[in-house]
């Protein structure tokens, strides 16, 4: 009886893990990534998800001329260095943080408004393909008010 109850409780705990992880992702985005955008003003949008090693994410957003932006890509500590690149509508790569020491942020402004794509890649730890780690990745934007 006691053993069955213990097993049942374990089921409940495992069932609630996804909610817990998502809640942690929100806190991670707020407390780690948003804070790092300063002195840029966070736009208020929330883009965060729990990603597995090897997983990719894409984000489409229009950026406006005469505005200075900071893109911040924050990955949980257990994920290693997250790679991100910025691509224009023709597929031309405009920036890739792997050529800049995997810097987590990129500051830029535009002469004309553009819709850009942000591609985020979570690295795979060697020898861990059968047991990939997962962690929160947040994509956040800040802008500078004139």
């Amino acid at each position: 009886m006691k053993r069955s109850l213990f097993v049942s409780i374990l089921f409940v705990v495992f069932a609630l893990v996804p909610f817990s992880a998502i809640g942690q992702c929100k806190q991670f985005a707020k407390n780690t990534c948003k804070v790092g955008l300063s002195p840029y003003q966070h736009d208020g949008n929330y883009h965060a998800a729990i990603l597995l090693e090897g997983e990719e994410a894409e984000l489409y957003k229009t950026f406006y001329s005469d505005t200075q932006y900071r893109i911040g890509i924050c990955g949980a500590n257990n994920l290693g260095e997250v790679e991100f690149s910025i691509v224009d509508g023709n597929g031309k790569e405009l920036y890739n943080n792997k050529f800049h020491g995997y810097e987590w942020k990129w500051d830029f402004k535009l002469e004309s408004s553009q819709q850009l794509k942000i591609i985020v890649k979570v690295p795979v730890t060697k020898g861990m393909a059968d047991d990939p780690k997962e962690g929160c990745v947040a994509i956040m934007f800040g802008f500078k008010d004139k």
Binding site: H47, K92, L94
Partner: protein, 313 residues
């Protein structure tokens, strides 16, 4: 198994275990849903066959986010385009009592938040207080519990003359709302809020363009035309929430806007990134040319007014 043959304790244990399995599968599904559709209109496209090994699965998984300008960014764009403040353009706070459906409350949460952002960027203290209360009513109606609480309003009142703090409070409020909705798997509601705010931005901007102005040289007009670049994002945001009938209703409205925007041409040259080594800020150099007639601009203005009037009615 003969249920009747079990004693009460075992029946209880069996029932408990069964409930745990049901609960577990529900929560896990919801968690998957939230994971698969996190953030504003995020969708996930697994191309891998379910039988493929894990490595192959994670290599082909791709999550897609679509990001519209937030109410705060919209207000900033309007202000930086040289616009003035006109409180008469905003949705009256007395209208809050009219909004009783989820669709109307979500649309007007977006609308009021854009009005709030616009008022705060122009240091309109009384309007800022009025609009955060209006936004709170909409958020409460949608049961977005931790978006705008009394402590938020008190903090805003205490810092009413400090624009930086006010903007930070608005940013925090937006983040709380959208993350709450994502956590609850309500991406459709999140999309409707964003569309409401986006249309309000278009309404304010189109209303502030002085009649007879040279469309080719007006910064506000340029911002309005720039929204053509976000139309596919708006469509994707709404289409990704096919289970939300209210979000689907808005698709027709967006299609009507798109039909007008399709008459506007934006030609763009190749982008060349040039980094400033002193500031580490990269300039994306390119030239953009807009072609739009006065008739098309007038048509766009009328359509925005029609949609916005319907949303606030």
């Amino acid at each position: 198994m003969n249920i009747k043959a079990l004693d009460t304790g075992k029946q209880f244990l069996l029932l408990f275990t069964f409930l745990v399995f049901i609960l577990g599968s529900c929560v896990t599904d919801k968690g998957k849903e939230a994971k698969n559709a996190d953030s504003s209109g995020l969708s996930k496209d697994f191309n891998a066959n379910a039988d493929d090994d894990l490595t192959e699965k994670i290599n082909t998984a791709k999550r897609i986010f679509y990001s519209l300008p937030s109410p705060l960014e919209t207000a900033m764009l309007i202000k930086n385009a040289g616009a003035v403040y006109d409180g008469d353009l905003l949705n009256k706070v007395e209208n809050t009592s009219k909004y009783n459906t989820n669709l109307k409350m979500a649309l007007n949460l977006g609308i009021y938040t854009t009005d709030l952002s616009y008022a705060s960027l122009f240091d309109q203290t009384q309007a800022t207080l009025s609009y955060i209360n209006a936004a709170k009513k909409m958020a409460d109606g949608l049961e977005i519990l931790d978006a705008i609480d009394q402590a938020t309003i008190t903090r805003l009142e205490e810092n009413i003359n400090n624009r930086d703090v006010i903007i930070d409070i608005i940013s925090e409020t937006l983040l709380n709302s959208s993350s709450f909705l994502e956590d609850k798997g309500l991406q459709g509601t999140s999309a409707i809020i964003l569309v409401g705010g986006w249309v309000e931005g278009l309404h304010i901007a189109t209303s502030l363009v002085t009649p007879g102005t040279d469309l080719q040289k007006n910064k506000l007009v340029e911002r309005i035309v720039d929204q053509k670049l976000s139309l596919n994002i708006v469509v994707s945001l709404l289409e990704n929430n096919k289970d939300n009938a209210e979000a689907q209703v808005l698709l027709k409205d967006v299609a009507e806007l798109k039909a007008i925007y399709d008459k506007i041409t934006i030609e763009q040259s190749e982008i060349t990134p040039v980094e400033d080594p002193n500031t580490n800020v990269t300039m994306l150099k390119s030239v953009s040319t807009i072609k739009m007639t006065q008739a098309v601009f007038d048509e766009l203005t009328r359509k925005v007014k029609e949609l916005r009037t319907r949303y606030i009615s």
